[in-house]
Homo-oligomer: 214 residues x 2
Amino acid sequence: MSAMSEKTTREQIVEAADRLFYRQGYEHTSFADIADDVQISRGNFYYYFKTKDEILDAVIDRRLADRREMLARWEAETESPAERIRCYIKILVTNQADIKRYGCPLGTLSSELAKLNHEAQGEAKALFTLFRSWLRRQFEALGHEAEADALALHVLAASQGVATLANAYQDNAFIRREVEALFDWLDARIAEVKSAGEGAGKKVPRQRRRRAGH
Amino acid sequence: MSAMSEKTTREQIVEAADRLFYRQGYEHTSFADIADDVQISRGNFYYYFKTKDEILDAVIDRRLADRREMLARWEAETESPAERIRCYIKILVTNQADIKRYGCPLGTLSSELAKLNHEAQGEAKALFTLFRSWLRRQFEALGHEAEADALALHVLAASQGVATLANAYQDNAFIRREVEALFDWLDARIAEVKSAGEGAGKKVPRQRRRRAGH
């Protein structure tokens, strides 16, 4: 909060737009809504952004930077790829208040831009791809080289589905249950590699070597 | 097609609105878009609907009637609750062209109305609840009495997640893989009941009796 005054006007606009796009949708949010939220004049606003598309690009960039930072933090906090994947899954619980009201910020923006056939669809997809690539690397580190991308997409899809239903039903018990089910699914994927490794006598050491390289 | 001329103007409006709300979103669709699509005058249009909220209610009613009919058809076509659940999962493949372009009609409407904090949120949720209750009954018939509702929500969430990612990535192989994974998950749920039934020597006949009652 004390850092608030140090934010540039541009940063304040993008922050407000990010929040409003998430809470009320991109299409439904007007220039006036954003200007009112930041409490600046329309003139000042237009100095920074001429079109809503420009704001959208800046919001997506902001989200990309924010999520990249989060993933880097998880990587710094734990060496374990399984624990890192659990960090991702746990967002459903950590952010459940917002998810219950507004859904997932990435999934709902992606869906909305697809319907608008908006040219920023590709940039919004890059947000999914950020998580997809990061999850894929964790599954590779777990020893799931061949199907790492499929497993990453499965985790992404599962969490998107939980977010959509949590938004419709506002049901904490449902969220907890699905998070536990995903943890169990992940444990089963880890067990698969371990038993294959014991059988082949190779996979586990290879995986350890790779992990040490992080 | 030959029945087209027999549709009432009201039906044509609701059908066009349903399609447009799905393809371009509720918020983004104007009265003019719908009137143009049906090729009627604004005056004629206003005779049937005074507000977009009224059209939304009619679209949700239409979707409810349409999906109820689909579920009744599946119930008529097969006695097997497992096969009925597979019919639901297979929508992801049957409708994949639309899902890749526009996502799931139910999930995207539910998410959009939540962001608009629209009073029809409850009615949109009724669409999910229609499938939830129907899936729950199938899991009960399979012998999963206690956790039938949780299993129903899991299937709903899984399919929502696949729709969101299919919409972002337009990836048929991903859809097929996730449908197969859901089939495997369902087989495991069936096997659970069977092995419990063999242990207790009771559950399987009970389940058969119930199924015969349909």
